[in-house]
Symmetry: C2
Subunit: 229 residues, 2 copies
Amino acid sequence: MQEYDLKQEVTDKYSLRGRVFNKVREDILSGKYRENDELKEIAIGEELGVSRTPVREAFRQLELEGLIQIIPNKGAYVTGITMDDVKDIYMIRSKLEGLCAAWACEHITKEQLEEMEENIYLAKFHAERGHFEQMSELDSRFHEIMYEACHSKLLEHNLRDYHQYVMRVRKKTLSTVERSIACNAEHQGIYEAIRDKNAKLADELATLHVHKAYENMVKNGLREAYSNE
Amino acid sequence: MQEYDLKQEVTDKYSLRGRVFNKVREDILSGKYRENDELKEIAIGEELGVSRTPVREAFRQLELEGLIQIIPNKGAYVTGITMDDVKDIYMIRSKLEGLCAAWACEHITKEQLEEMEENIYLAKFHAERGHFEQMSELDSRFHEIMYEACHSKLLEHNLRDYHQYVMRVRKKTLSTVERSIACNAEHQGIYEAIRDKNAKLADELATLHVHKAYENMVKNGLREAYSNE
DNA sequence: CTTCGTATGATTGTATACAATTATACGATT
DNA sequence: AATCGTATAATTGTATACAATCATACGAAG
């Protein structure tokens, strides 16, 4: 009886399809491919040294993730995230992160709580020094812990999707020392609420946290953050 | 300049892949395939008269929708919806339907409001007479109007997914005259709030509506509703 | 000069062939 | 009799070939 890695989820690294999927997804999120760029099966295939078949399968998945749009018999095009989309995502996320925090109160493990504490402690160090790369990593990880702790595969999956979706935008939202410090303080509040099993408070704080992040982004100019320069 | 049908979204009916996708999805949701059933590419392909290629592509999409799990080099297995999943979905939906109703206040058109009104009027007729099939249809349509009216592609897509996901369960939740009438009354309340552009109230009522639906389902025995007899 | 239509090329859609992996059956060994 | 190993079958993973569709270019008609 073999146990299969649950983390594989969708995109096993070891199949060609999985490799293509991950690579293209990363290239879209990192901004290598821009809005409305046409992705050609042969070109991508040659670049990665595979045939069209795994590329096509990866494309179908990317379409469902909303990263590309496939027009039958025509081609695959990178779907841009509009400013309205970003706003929608943050509003949706704020609701769902609240739910997630509330559920985490019931299901979080001692280890996860400890990792949160460590995360916040370390983030304080980097926040004060303006180490934005590390802050972005730590912020992502903090939310990731919460997603795991809520103990709902569906909510976890949903939130992770949105989180990835606005990744490039999100990096910029932490790009001031003030916001980094405030953000970490908000994490601290959420952490304490979860630790104390105060679901209502955790919900409120997590909801507010995402709202704040959005407001900050708007203040700093969503337009610049959004466009790829 | 050709205009492409936005409703196509992902699953155009006219490609083999789209047909396979829709068929298998429907068969899973309708209960033809049960939890942990193994779906074989060749078998599905022969059943629909297509080769393995479009079947494989459809499978990759179904995996991302969470309806099947693909284990590399092994097979595709139907992932069941557990009772916990159903609860999660209702809780998530309750939050998102609230958001949806609130947003609909800003964006709903006169035509959509009129269709809602008609929907409620007609539903009153069928509710009192215990026409559960029609009620189910009307209920789905009511929510569908709201999804369209919220004017957010992302939220609309998200809600529609979950709605589909619990379809078989949902049908049973309307299977009493009392619940049908109560449900329609709740729709009426949501409709009026949206009509009066009272976003806060619309949010609350829609949130409550989904909660009520869930509670009713639990009361009527989620276990029987969930299992395929 | 513009416009329409056809021809050509490029790209996607599908089917099939082959390779790699996994499951099963059966027999040999202990 | 139980267990291990090998051979065989079944199934998925990938590559390639062919068909269908779409885009482009170019020339003829007005």
